[in-house]
């Protein structure tokens, strides 16, 4: 189910700048019983990203109308994946954006992924990717459409048989998972990479940073050199679909095993109490 500027259709103009340059942004949301989770936060991030790229962002009412339209045309399901894409649309002479640009919105509903494990009970196996992430403060944090680094990282993860993989920048500092943000318990504090030069600032990461402190859990942004992973007491990764995935095994040159993850479960409980996690 795909809507392009509100019209059902699985085809996109082939001159779209999203295709040619990755000139756009996206959001991925959990749709539970027809309700998009953290809808306002996702739309706010999209608007922040559009402002950074000097791109007009459609009003929330347009996305809401698209979603209502889409939900009327599909049978109800407990869970679906909702993806929003915003591109700068067609046109322009080469890289330079056209003025005025007519951004294009794309809404896509897909099936909920069929994970083969119960992550909170089983934990996941985390690989370390060799593909580095380039550093660019102009693009850091944005969920933009230039994701070739993540494609190469995800291919490494698939080849390794792990469930997810961590990626590092060219200074060997931890940034994120291929499709998740990462938190590392070191001593009495949870740390997560600062994302001021690379990475996507995820909504669930934002919720952890916001709601964990209220439950008395210390968490802050920090630089995390690769070597610090050897000292981790626990690790979890998170995103809007997966929720929070505790890490059972960490691959790489110095593999680690984490038989239990009580502190991760504390975070899960804190977010559930706050109504921030399903």
């Amino acid at each position: 189910m795909i809507l392009i500027d509100g019209i059902a259709g699985a085809q996109l103009p082939a001159d779209d700048r999203g295709l040619h340059y990755g000139d756009g942004l996206f959001e991925t949301l959990a749709l539970i019983d027809g309700h998009p989770q953290h809808w306002q936060r996702h739309l706010a991030r999209l608007a922040r990203g559009a402002a950074r790229l000097d791109m007009q962002c459609p009003p929330a009412a347009h996305w809401q109308a698209d979603l209502d339209h889409a939900l009327r045309t599909v049978p109800p399901r407990p869970r679906r994946v909702l993806k929003l894409l915003l591109t700068r649309g067609s046109g322009g002479r080469g890289y330079a954006p056209p003025h005025p640009a007519r951004p294009r919105r794309i809404l896509q509903l897909t099936d909920w992924p069929a994970w083969s494990f119960d992550p909170l009970r089983d934990g996941i196996c985390l690989a370390l990717c060799d593909t580095p992430l380039g550093r660019n403060p102009c693009l850091a944090g944005l969920k933009h459409l230039n994701r070739l680094e993540q494609v190469l990282g995800a291919a490494e993860v698939a080849a390794s048989g792990a469930d997810e993989g961590l990626m590092f920048d060219d200074r060997d500092e931890l940034v994120e998972g291929t499709r998740t943000n990462v938190f590392v318990a070191l001593g009495d504090t949870w740390l997560t990479p600062a994302l001021d030069a690379a990475g996507i600032a995820g909504i669930l990461r934002e919720l952890v940073l916001e709601f964990a402190p209220a439950a008395g859990i210390a968490v802050r942004e920090a630089r995390i050199p690769r070597g610090e992973l050897a000292n981790a007491d626990e690790i979890f990764v998170c995103n809007s679909l997966a929720g929070i995935w505790p890490v059972r095994e960490l691959g790489g040159a110095c593999p680690r095993r984490f038989p239990h993850w009580p502190r991760t479960l504390q975070i899960v409980a804190a977010l559930r109490t706050a109504g921030a996690l399903a």
Copy 2:
């Protein structure tokens, strides 16, 4: 005029990985009297890029058939722009590429750009972009579809009124123009950035490196810190459409003027003698 997998049509499946992740490559060629310039070199670069991304590259015969088909449907013109795009096609669960993937080829013919100046006579005005280029050796040199940095750079150039802009990496080393490669005459040698961590290795750059030495002109790849531009004797930028553009003015904190560009014209003459430049 657009062909998608050989079929005329201006629409693309909206689940194409080129749109979602920039998971693909492209080539831009000058089509002169119906003849694509340096066709074999462009196809060879596309194949090298596909190998780096672990993507199947269609045989040259498919691209040739597409081009023949396209040329039969448009009126003859002295010059056109030919763009080839190769994406990993549709499918896959998130970032991880599907196996097997069915790459999609897109061929586009557009009008020759109407430049308002005679570059070899007038020279061009070159801005210095603030947008940095991230460093990633896995992607360096490839003409892939993740070009948001160039979009931001080109927007800066458009705002400045310059004809093109130079871009630097996060170590402040020169990489390239927003849509060109760059050569800097320092002393008796022409230098061009090495592109082992960022940038696109252009075909005209390849031709300059190959044919200038035969004409007795010293040229080599090098690291070029931003400050070295203050010592430049001449600068030119180049790409497959523009050819070679001598620089008349260089913007930035220490603006420079180059009233003449005899050494750039030597390079132009050397490439023309070799049949490498129209």
